[in-house]
Subunit: 369 residues, 4 copies
Amino acid sequence: MDVFRFVSLPCEYEIGLGIPVKGKLLKQHTIPPRIEAAKDVRSLTESMRYIGFQGRMLAAVVDVWAKMLKREYNVIFLGLAGAMVPAGMRRMISHLIKRRMIDVLVSTGANLYHDTFEALGGHHYMGSAHANDVQLRRNRIDRIYDVFADEDKFYKLDLTIQKKFAQMLIDNYPYSSREILIELGKMLSEKAREKDSIVLSAYDTGVPIFCPAIGDSSLGFSIMFANRAGRSIRVDGLKDVHESSLITQRAPRTGVIYIGGGVPKNFIQQTAVVASYQTRHDKSHDSAIQITTDMPMWGGLSGCTFEEAQSWGKIGPRAKMAVCYCDATIALPIVANALNQRFPKIRRNIPEFTWKDSGLELNFHMEKL
Amino acid sequence: MDVFRFVSLPCEYEIGLGIPVKGKLLKQHTIPPRIEAAKDVRSLTESMRYIGFQGRMLAAVVDVWAKMLKREYNVIFLGLAGAMVPAGMRRMISHLIKRRMIDVLVSTGANLYHDTFEALGGHHYMGSAHANDVQLRRNRIDRIYDVFADEDKFYKLDLTIQKKFAQMLIDNYPYSSREILIELGKMLSEKAREKDSIVLSAYDTGVPIFCPAIGDSSLGFSIMFANRAGRSIRVDGLKDVHESSLITQRAPRTGVIYIGGGVPKNFIQQTAVVASYQTRHDKSHDSAIQITTDMPMWGGLSGCTFEEAQSWGKIGPRAKMAVCYCDATIALPIVANALNQRFPKIRRNIPEFTWKDSGLELNFHMEKL
Amino acid sequence: MDVFRFVSLPCEYEIGLGIPVKGKLLKQHTIPPRIEAAKDVRSLTESMRYIGFQGRMLAAVVDVWAKMLKREYNVIFLGLAGAMVPAGMRRMISHLIKRRMIDVLVSTGANLYHDTFEALGGHHYMGSAHANDVQLRRNRIDRIYDVFADEDKFYKLDLTIQKKFAQMLIDNYPYSSREILIELGKMLSEKAREKDSIVLSAYDTGVPIFCPAIGDSSLGFSIMFANRAGRSIRVDGLKDVHESSLITQRAPRTGVIYIGGGVPKNFIQQTAVVASYQTRHDKSHDSAIQITTDMPMWGGLSGCTFEEAQSWGKIGPRAKMAVCYCDATIALPIVANALNQRFPKIRRNIPEFTWKDSGLELNFHMEKL
Amino acid sequence: MDVFRFVSLPCEYEIGLGIPVKGKLLKQHTIPPRIEAAKDVRSLTESMRYIGFQGRMLAAVVDVWAKMLKREYNVIFLGLAGAMVPAGMRRMISHLIKRRMIDVLVSTGANLYHDTFEALGGHHYMGSAHANDVQLRRNRIDRIYDVFADEDKFYKLDLTIQKKFAQMLIDNYPYSSREILIELGKMLSEKAREKDSIVLSAYDTGVPIFCPAIGDSSLGFSIMFANRAGRSIRVDGLKDVHESSLITQRAPRTGVIYIGGGVPKNFIQQTAVVASYQTRHDKSHDSAIQITTDMPMWGGLSGCTFEEAQSWGKIGPRAKMAVCYCDATIALPIVANALNQRFPKIRRNIPEFTWKDSGLELNFHMEKL
């Protein structure tokens, strides 16, 4: 196959070259939105359906997500990467959990750590991307692009995790990260000052959270410090794979939403591969959304297209898909608000997860939210 | 701390290392937005003021633009690059012109050509970025990412420009692109079926449009075809420089807004350099906005920061600046709607341009819009 | 057509679904390069042919360029955008011109201005992208990402252009930018201290240079200052379109190389459209290379794929194409050195351009370089 | 002026505004490289030292890496993310390990899986980024951008891991990923057909490999399948944190090299934080390199600058740093070859890692390579 060669319109168009297909291809013209049309965020996104480029894709994200919510017996995964909590996205994610617009969360450790930090009353601060970082260091201020944080306050949380949270965990038990995060939710249910917490909302609503690289965060290393001080707490990475793929195995269908890429994306994609291996049926994801600033050209999993994922059987051949190339701190507020305005009430078949030993029972119940 | 300010920690912090500055640096914490807060697009952007990353910058774009509108005797330039009209942004730009949220437009030729095309009743179509382009070619369909267009219809417009529009122009006169575009506006004022046209709105409201690389578009080459058929129409690139820089020379202050980079950005930036040379005063732009997907790392003018522009004296040392890295088809609908909801009425000192020979008289009059 | 739908392998594969095509698709395995294999830059690029991602594309750029050089009666255009001269690429471009690895140059004004500046003995300086630009301004130092320049020296060149160079030009003649740049080459042939100049090399070898937005640069505004002081120099943008498209009309075939996008890319692409209109034959470019950091997702012409260009008839349906997403200051040194090592001698049919009135005579002569 | 230094103009310049500092800032002019200068890859990179933009940064990467190699008692970490092995980078990484240009590897699971696959005789194939993925799926071909692979062959490796490799592991032992990967190296030392394997080279030379998200890969899920079939293999994510941070604790100094970001980058960065907490000394990394296509503007850890990392104490305040924004499949071949040509022989103090229980003994011995 010629490396430089491009591919084709469906065969019907190929076969009869003489047939005028222009009419088939030029069916719906674009509709340049009038400014007055956007009364609220929902109508803003609706006015963007018939434009071009990433604006159209943003509208498509809302539409595909809406379809996910209407789809029966659908389990919706959210993969969350990037410093979304320091950037102020905590309450939105929490809202999506509470209103069950997502059913399973896979996150980096940092987002869960920063969420816990804010839940316990901590703050991130308005900073500048142009600060002199050596001087920030001297002041024990940590920078996350244009957000600042007080390292001394982080240090207190680290101690809390190491000294108090670790006491809630038992030695030599192979924890999945999901199990660890239930314990963290339990702690927050007692201590949180701020209730719009991701970890706490998930705990309250029974939404499982996986953090497959939990060691790779302050959350992980603070627990590790307890081990250095004599404990033997274990977080078993393989158990995460087992549990998460069980969900996809048991679910009649699955939808996936990726904010950023990284481990959360790959990990959720992988559940389809594992579930298909195990069941010998096609358990590819049924609908898929990605909001990313990464690009396919670099060949990495974070930026790869859903089409590429179809070749692996991670995404189904007829899946509804929408990829929007945009910073999530722009796209998520729009999408979350648009969904909220579109569904002031939702009535969904909500999945309920019952974990026994290492088995999973998955039931659905209808809920109005 | 002002979010929009370039913050290198002031020298005082250097000198007295013992002084606790943490409190000064951690003044305003971030405020994670609640979903319920965003009633409309305006409140959406306001809820994003105290978050991080590009979401914050989008809110900053609205705030800086609002300041431009409130600033007295301010001439606001808009630089427009990228296929904004095929992507459906025509009515928004037209709205910004009619409500005088901008005063001067510098555009690529393509946007003006496609605007003329839609004004005369033409359409762009919903397409796919994955189409087989060789087959599109066979059907005489042109693709602009995920937008399709009917080449035969473009061809008719080309003929109209060559045969009819060219008749409105005189031979051997050194036109600036501004003068050409007034003639185009005149033609549209008679023939346009669709009134929300950029060229027409500018003509109606007296907003000058410059197209410094007019030859580099279907608009340009269609006029050139008239020359090949015996005419001697001239578009003098130097006259554009002269006229545009006169505006910055005469204006008490200038604000600049860049959608994309390219020639429009550089051309508007350059007016500050020319005006400063000529007047021997600092005529750097007073406030500046950029919405771009280009990056500073590649060293080009399109992606360069406004800080870099300050070293050249193009942007003032105390200018209000906001750069948002985002596809304009996402950012512009948000920003334009937010501004519209924020200013249901505007009362501005509107600049009026009177061109005599090659001189410019600039007057301001108060207008309610 | 479904917007979200992806397209297909050639029909043969469609028709017989039972046919095992895996073997056809998995023909050539990748060959991970050994480090020892890369003796020189040529062998480095050859060792990258059978890898993946942009590394493979870089090797493809060299291979497609080599094919262009071997192709008979081929006119090779180079489009040059971005601050390539300040970044140190001057001698490489000059080398490509002298050895006739390109035949026509289309450039931004800035590159030609900075080239002239260095040819006359000026320098750019090693700077930092993290400098405080307000302080640079106070020192009259201009910054281009991590390159500094002495504004006072630029000012001297501006005066030279305004006072001396303008004297070489006549009033009221509609110059194309090509004609202006021949005059500039003439000036440099007398005054240049540094001979590896782009403008000078092009002058010496008869390679035409177009600068379609010449007004949009210090070169342009300095000539304009002469007009403000009483001269009437005219640069006619339409004449550029005419002349450049004549080349594509007359040439048996054309190859195009784009370093960055912007006006140079669109302008060269457009010559194919104009030439096809005029000749009623397919005059699309026969081979095409792009080195860019822009992306197709934003819908702009700079970042668009050559496939998109095929839908417009700008690039031929069977063209050899290679797009490499990479900063040109990395890719160009590799590609230029690899080509040089691959062709220590070239024997090419070199196009010779004879301009009469506004007509063009195009002849080829065999040359060893 | 040191190119690699973060330059905010020192305070002295602020204070005395009258002092002419231009001379201090414009010390070293750029040197546009001649094409003839690049005899080999080393001289290519050396010719790029005095240019601008990312080309200069590529030269800086080689220079900073060379300094790392010359630095005494330095432990060099490599973080490896992205599909580098499918893209053909396996032998280069293997070479860097064998010649001890790196001392510790932190990788995604996918790279180690694909390395094992190729070591056992498997192949990746030249494909196309434009293929129809649904049809690839039907043929059981997996696509990684423009690389194809035979899924049936992957399946065999999965079975080998599940059935045979898992037998080398014991139940209920809390493995670190490092320990797992030693066992994998052992298996490859017997079975590998291709000796230039990353896992095997690391095994042979005693270079530890960490894979903190090992569950997030075919390697991980294949071991998990053994558990589903009755085994109780545990991979303890906390142990990885413990062991990796011990290295940074014990090492007199550390250098870090990141190809891509993701978990490998954060994980290595984090060792400095943990080591500093534990030792109450500044254990920030002493020198740092990053080759990435991610950007700081999105606020994520993958794309963040080393300056930002300095605010956290991950990178030292006086660290030598070089960040090059470039696809690694372009940059790595250049850098690895340039280093190899610059150091035909290396004499380095090589760290030797002796792990006892969960403690680490770190010794250095001089080696010629």
